[in-house]
Amino acid sequence: MRILVCVKRVPAVGSRINVTADAQQVDTAHLGFTTSPHEECAVEEAAQIAERLDGDDHTVVVLTLGPEESAEQLRYAASVGGTEFALVLADSGLDWDPQRTAAAITSAVRELEAAGGQFDLILFGNESADGGNFQVGIRVAHALGRPIVNGIKGIDPHERGFTARRETDAGYEVYELEAPCALGVKEGINLPRYPTMKGRLASRKAQIQLLDCAADADAGGQSRVRLHRPPERASTTVQLGASAAAAPAVVDLLDELGVL
């Protein structure tokens, strides 16, 4: 089984997001970087499926499109079950709107498949943590002529393809896809493992293949003007107490709000 997972490097923001002076980027001067939780779970899911079917010989290719530093996220993926790694170098001076991003990833997938064979399954996150465009995976899958369902919180491989579960308010919906196909997964599908000693070693030894197919991708029709913070809701906090003795005041409040 060959599985591809597409992950994106995003800043690990804390209690407040700051924007650079030119309003074009998140100010990352004092921030680390991470992979979106959805995509971390996608890597874990791919590793679990592949390990179950192929044991130690499994293939999980992890791809990212971004600056050179995105190698950090691929190395992390190597420590938690990824086996091959592709970095599509993206010129940071360009506007990486969803259409351009999808076009570049699509050519990269074609290149990887030409060299190593078709992927039975391509996993995306449901949405990227920063952009939240809800579309890159769907565009890539469509360009490759593969079915895709987003919002997946459970995957069971079988003979011909995959049974996938999508969470709803009341429970879940079941989909049946034939391989080759793609799925957009959501956090909660699994609990990602922590890197082990063996994983850390794999991470150090990971070979990262550089792909330069990003250059040909044209810009789409959406273009960034600026990033800004939404107005904050002004609040003065009413302190109801500093011990268990606050309980009556809390219950008075619940009563006032009509939820008692």
């Binding site: 979106s36 943590a129 465009n133 308010d169 429970g171 919906e173 079941v174 956090e187 273009s223 109801l240």
Partner: protein, 348 residues
């Protein structure tokens, strides 16, 4: 007359709350463009027999001049390919000036399917849309036309992005809860209903809903009037017992932070936040939660927030309307006791 088309995302005939918000947003956009408001509903014969009249009445109340019913046996239930393909055919035939949908799971997915099929840009989770020509300082696109100016959310709502959109057919999803759903005054005067029959190939069947499983009946995290959440400060899975009890006493649900799901203390279905559930209770009781921005975006729709935390500087505390600065393990049981004491007391 070509109009602003809104895809009404629904679950077996019941429209999502987001669909009504999208209709409201589209109505004001249609007014700006001096265009008609059109609704698009996808289903099969049985679905329209059972729910068609209600769906049309709802669209009419929100000001739709026309409701286009796409009928096909493959549209009996939801499927991203079936919906995307049917929507693409509607667009081909009707030539709308813009297509919109709610930023719900289905709305967002069907619109992305449409965008992929037509290779058109799709601006997701818009909170403000100014069509070309509506702003005097709007930049023009290289092809000579003017661009739309749009504000959308990023990071689940922690950040806003202003973008320009240059497209022959603007495709937009409307961020959930960014606008209040409002029927139009007096409703639509005369709403026409027209059927169209999309020509769907067997390939769309692969992604149709095959089956569904119901796990929870009644109130869900997103609809609960009270949510009692615990974070890392709760310390263990067992530590949630008093929170369960409080939620039970108040007819609410238990939520949690990602630190809790990551530790395996609770299921991800309980997680509040950017990658969890958005909640909007009358009161959110956040116990031992620091209030990271990704948690906050899931909680900020709450009407009232009570933070219980040992740290007076925690973000959750400074942003909350009410706070108790103390150990949650002492405070939460005391609140439960007080509620029971009052309830046991005969009314005076």
């Amino acid at each position: 007359m070509s109009g602003v088309a809104v895809l009404i995302d629904h679950d077996r005939g019941v429209p999502s709350g987001g669909a009504l918000e999208a209709l409201t947003a589209a109505r004001s956009l249609a007014a700006d463009l001096n265009a008609e408001l059109d609704a698009v509903i996808l289903g099969d014969g049985d679905l329209f027999d059972a729910h068609g009249a209600d769906l049309v009445a709802t669209c009419a109340a929100y000001g739709a001049a026309a409701v286009h019913c796409g009928r096909h046996s493959f549209l009996a239930d939801y499927g991203p390919d079936a919906w995307g393909a049917a929507l693409a055919m509607f667009v081909e035939a009707a030539g709308p000036v813009a297509v919109m949908a709610a930023g719900t799971d289905r709305g967002a997915e069907a619109m992305a399917q449409l965008a992929a099929r037509r290779d058109l840009p799709l601006v997701a989770n818009c909170v403000n849309v100014s069509p070309a020509g509506s702003l005097t300082d709007a930049p023009s696109d290289p092809a000579g036309g003017e661009a739309w100016r749009i504000t959308r959310i990023q990071w689940g709502g922690s950040l806003l992005e202003d973008v320009t959109l240059t497209s022959t057919l603007p495709l937009l999803t409307i961020a959930q809860h960014s606008i209040e759903a409002e029927p139009c005054e007096g409703g639509s005067v005369h709403t026409t209903v027209a059927d169209f029959k999309p020509d769907l190939g067997p390939e769309v069947q692969q992604t149709l809903v095959r089956d569904r499983v119901t796990l929870t009946e009644g109130i869900t995290l997103s609809t609960a009037p009270v949510v009692v959440s615990g974070g890392r400060g709760v310390g263990s899975a067992d530590g949630f017992a008093p929170l369960e009890e409080l939620a039970e006493l108040l007819g609410g649900r238990v939520g949690c932070s990602r630190a809790v799901t990551n530790n395996g203390w609770r299921s991800h279905a309980d997680q509040v936040g950017q990658t969890g559930t958005r909640i909007a209770p009358e009161i959110y009781i956040a116990c031992g939660i620091s209030g990271a921005i990704q948690h906050w975006v899931g909680a900020m729709g709450s009407k009232n927030i009570l933070a219980i935390n040992i740290d007076p500087e925690a973000n959750m505390v400074t942003k909350a309307g009410y706070a108790v600065i103390a150990d949650l393990h002492e405070v939460v049981p005391a609140i439960c006791d007080e509620i029971r004491r009052r309830r046991d007391r005969p009314p005076s």
